[in-house]
């Protein structure tokens, strides 16, 4: 172990600042609090701080960060990865632990270059905490000290710092700037090893029991309602959190309306509209549900995914909550107190994450080759990728469609992969992007990201009996699979389709529906919720569930594929179950707010599931116990 006198450390820091090859940031005073900021001189450093207002994640995942620069004149876009070498001085162990968690989140599957490149360019000089806030419970979360995750770690020994080198980056930094290190003497070694982190408060139980505790009390509505009653839905608790990573993505055009940027900005699941979609549906519409989601995401869902509890006990959320309802210690201790049976502590080990392929959010260009108005608010766009490639989708997958300067919208592919050369999107005019898409002309371009998610497993269903049930716009994603089946009709056994819409005028793909009549290898039934005499509708009138009792299927041995508006599922599934269809033979496709499409931004989550990655197509048996799925 090495030691550096505080005076020499100051010289070392000033040397780095004067050298100027890296930005040097550290903890400084801000009013009566502390914050990481640019250092003009080492004298500004306050390594005796208790906690900073924001964690150092802001340097790797900034509050607002440009992802792309786009040019509307030629529909092109380029990724902007803005990296500056940086030394960060004074990071407390709990914040280092949090950064390690963020590393896993951003490296997983679609690795995020914006985060990772910045992280690679930074040297972390950690600091074992001298002071702590009254809210800090890092010790309860096992994050009061860390054995890795830093390049250099300092421990205050009074007149000097003990220096532990954690990486070659750290070692090089000390060498390059001539840090006046000496070997620690025995007394210093002893002082360093007897260091114990200051504690603000503590959990009443082993934090390893948190996941089981949360699961046991997920349904304790009274608890969540009572605890969230005073929530201001201000988002402070999640915005100051070192392990929160949810973000929104927006477009801002330049003043010339030609260029512009697509940027991401911090978002948070406690903010009311976090899970709202363009149609107005809010998939987490109550304070209690949002509040519960926060604790479960941190305490349970991410634990299942990554093997860590996404809370390091920094206490920032607690300190920033005006009604004082965000303190995890209080919430977890309260839960523990009301638990009749105390769940077991189960130690989890962080999953090994090897970075996935980098994903930069740059769309591919596609050109409109045909557009067909349909229904009352729908338009079918036939698109061709400009690079000549096939979209390569699985039926049921979706793409993110870009109109630069407007934004992106998730839209299911409604053509079958058997349809080669182009693909089709059925677009309902409901928000800004879809309004813009409706206004496109043949020859205009859009950006396409994806296809994303899990669709219908066409191989799995081979040889099976299939009952398709589509409500309204649900026919669009369903059609992708249905047409695939029709094009490979011999591969599938009995095939039936039920299709319902509100009024006859809203029927989609009417020409294809007419073709169904001519086929004797499929059975189809249609219904409308209501009609007038002018509609000359001769079919069934009633909601789609009214068709189900009369349909002739082998209930035990038919896969029922259901796609429709959120409200439809509960009723259709009930009817199917009444008919004797087992849970695992019901397949659904769920709508959520898909923003990033790559399992990062957090918007589409239902409980622990990222719908954009693990869905939108699910086997009902897999999600029936996921409370947020079909609530």
């Amino acid at each position: 172990m090495k030691v550096i006198s505080k005076g020499d450390f100051t010289s070392f820091v000033n040397g780095m600042i004067q050298d100027g090859s890296s930005k040097v940031v550290g903890v400084k005073e801000k009013g009566n609090a502390f914050a990481f900021g640019d250092l003009g001189t080492a004298d500004e450093l306050r390594l005796d701080y208790d906690v900073t207002l924001l964690p150092p994640k802001k340097y790797f995942f900034p509050q607002r960060e440009t992802l792309l620069r786009f040019d509307r004149t030629n529909d092109s876009a380029q990724s902007v990865v803005d990296v500056e070498p940086m030394v960060i001085i004074g990071v407390h162990p709990y914040d280092i632990a949090a950064l390690q968690q963020m590393d896993a989140v951003f490296a997983e599957s679609n690795a995020d270059p914006y985060y990772m490149k910045k992280r690679e360019a930074a040297v972390i000089i950690g600091m074992n905490a001298v002071n702590t806030s009254e809210w800090n419970f890092a010790a309860s979360m096992g994050a009061e000290s860390v054995s890795d995750g830093y390049d250099i770690m300092l421990t205050d020994l009074g007149g000097s710092y003990a220096v532990e080198v954690g990486s070659s980056k750290g070692e090089n930094l000390l060498l390059t700037h001539g840090a006046a290190l000496r070997e620690a003497n025995g007394e210093e070694q002893a002082a360093c090893s007897s260091y114990s982190a200051p504690v603000g408060k503590s959990l009443d139980f082993d934090a390893a029991a948190i996941p089981a505790l949360l699961r046991a009390h997920y349904g304790n509505e009274a608890f969540w309602e009572e605890h969230s009653e005073k929530c201001l839905k201000c988002g402070s608790c999640v915005l100051v959190c070192p392990t929160c990573y949810c973000f929104d993505v927006k477009d801002e055009a330049d003043l010339d309306l030609k260029g512009g940027e697509r940027y991401r900005t911090w978002d948070g699941c406690l903010i009311e509209d976090f899970a709202s979609v363009a149609s107005g549906e809010n998939f987490r519409g109550t304070k209690a549900a949002r509040y519960r989601h926060r604790y479960n995401k941190k305490g349970d869902y991410l634990n299942e995914r990554f093997g860590f509890t996404a809370c390091v006990g920094c206490g920032r959320c607690s300190s920033q909550c005006l009604p004082d309802i965000a303190d995890p210690v209080k919430v977890f201790n309260d839960l523990w107190a009301v638990a009749d049976t105390k769940p077991q502590a189960i130690e989890s080990t962080p999953a090994e994450i090897s970075p996935g392929e980098e994903y930069s959010f740059v769309p591919r260009n596609a050109t409109v080759v045909n557009k067909t108005a349909m229904g009352t608010t729908e338009m079918v766009l036939e698109l061709k990728l400009d690079d000549g490639s096939e979209l390569g989708h699985q039926p049921g997958q979706f793409v993110e469609v870009s109109a630069f300067g407007i934004g992106e919208a998730p839209i299911s592919v409604s053509s079958s992969p058997t349809h080669r050369g182009t693909f089709e999107l059925c677009v309902r005019k409901i928000g800004n992007v879809t309004t813009k898409l409706h206004a496109l002309e043949v020859g205009d371009k859009v950006g396409i990201r994806g296809p994303f998610g899990v669709g219908f497993d066409t191989e799995f269903f081979k040889g099976k009996n299939l009952l398709f049930i589509a409500g309204g716009l649900g026919l669009a994603p369903l059609r992708s699979f249905f047409n695939f089946v029709l094009d490979n009709r011999a591969d599938y056994a009995d095939v039936k389709i039920l299709y319902g819409c509100k009024v006859p005028g809203e029927m989609l793909f009417g020409n294809e529906v007419a073709d169904w009549d001519a086929r004797d290898d499929i059975d189809h039934r249609m219904t409308v919720d209501s009609c007038t005499e002018e509609d000359t509708w001769e079919g069934n009138v009633g909601v789609i569930t009214t068709l189900i009792p009369g349909v002739d299927i082998d209930a035990e041995d038919t896969y029922c594929i259901v796609v429709g508006p959120p409200i439809m599922y509960r009723f259709v599934i009930k009817s199917l179950k009444e008919k004797g269809v087992p849970d695992d033979k019901i397949i659904v496709s769920l709508e959520r707010r898909m923003k990033c499409g790559v399992g990062k931004c957090g918007h589409c989550q239902m409980n622990g599931i990222y719908v954009c990655q693990e869905g939108p197509v699910f086997n009902y048996a897999d999600i029936k116990d996921v409370p947020e799925a079909l609530e």
């Binding site: 009566n32 924001l54 915005l239 801002e252 003043l255 903010i271 509209d273 009604p323």
Partner: protein
């Protein structure tokens, strides 16, 4: 395509929002590449009824102004209310909770009868509008955002979350942690928490978010030592009209 024709009007207000448009400096020249300003009393002599977009500052504070607003509505296909007075009623609505006989006499003495006035109200209380840019004064970047998005055919992003979101992103020390009180938790964001960034607090000039947690916030204010009367005054500074709706 010819450039959209823009007319700028003001009602009861301080004209600070129109000043923000002038303060766009070089960006204003950029904007003039996309639109043609045909009426702007504060800056130009010409005036006309032939315009596509009307930008309106100030509250409606007297019945006679309703006719002018209706005329503007007939002329314009897009009406944008700018500033707190036009968007939410603004500071003018402070008087909405005072006794009219008293405040008229307080200012004009025995000549009070000469002056016609009623409850200050936002433009949207008189005519339907396409967009509102709240703020006292408006944020220049947000104004540009609104104009750009409307020119691009999309609705502007006017946040529906409270100031706290921006304040946290800006790493401010919370006003409540400095012995101040603030209405940021119920106030619509979009200003980048500009007042707190300058060392003060949120006064509420952008109005309430949809469905604000007013009761929870009042409890917070009272817990920080405010009397019920002080709580009401904090809410009335800018929420005078909205709070009554």
């Amino acid at each position: 395509m010819s450039k959209p024709r823009v007319a700028i009007f003001d009602f009861a207000g301080c004209e600070g929002d129109e000043l923000q448009i002038v303060n766009l400096e070089e960006s204003l020249l950029g904007l003039l590449g996309h639109v043609e300003v045909v009426t702007f009393r504060e800056a130009m002599k010409e005036r006309t009824d032939d315009y596509d977009i009307a930008i309106v500052e100030g509250s409606c504070t007297r019945p006679e102004d309703e006719e002018k607003l209706k005329h503007i509505r007939e002329c314009a296909s897009i009406v944008i209310a700018i500033g707190s007075c036009a968007a939410i009623g603004g500071i003018n609505s402070l008087k909405n909770h005072l006794d009219p006989a008293w405040y008229r006499a307080e200012v004009y003495g025995d000549k009070a009868d000469w002056f016609d006035t009623y409850k200050a109200r936002p433009i949207s209380a008189v005519i339907p509008i396409e967009a509102a840019v709240p703020g006292c004064p408006i944020d220049r970047d947000e104004f540009l955002h609104v104009v750009k998005t409307l020119l691009l055919g999309r609705t502007p992003d006017i946040p529906n979350y409270p100031i706290c979101v921006e304040c946290k992103k800006n790493e401010n020390v919370c006003a409540f942690d400095r012995g101040e009180v603030c209405v940021g938790p119920v106030t619509r964001a979009g200003c980048n928490s500009c007042c707190v960034n300058e060392g003060t607090k949120c006064w509420g000039c952008r109005g309430l978010i949809d469905d604000p947690e007013k009761n929870a916030h009042m409890e917070v204010l009272e817990a920080h030592g405010l009397t019920p009367d002080e709580v009401i005054k904090n809410f009335q500074t800018y929420f005078g009209w909205e709070g009554d709706q």
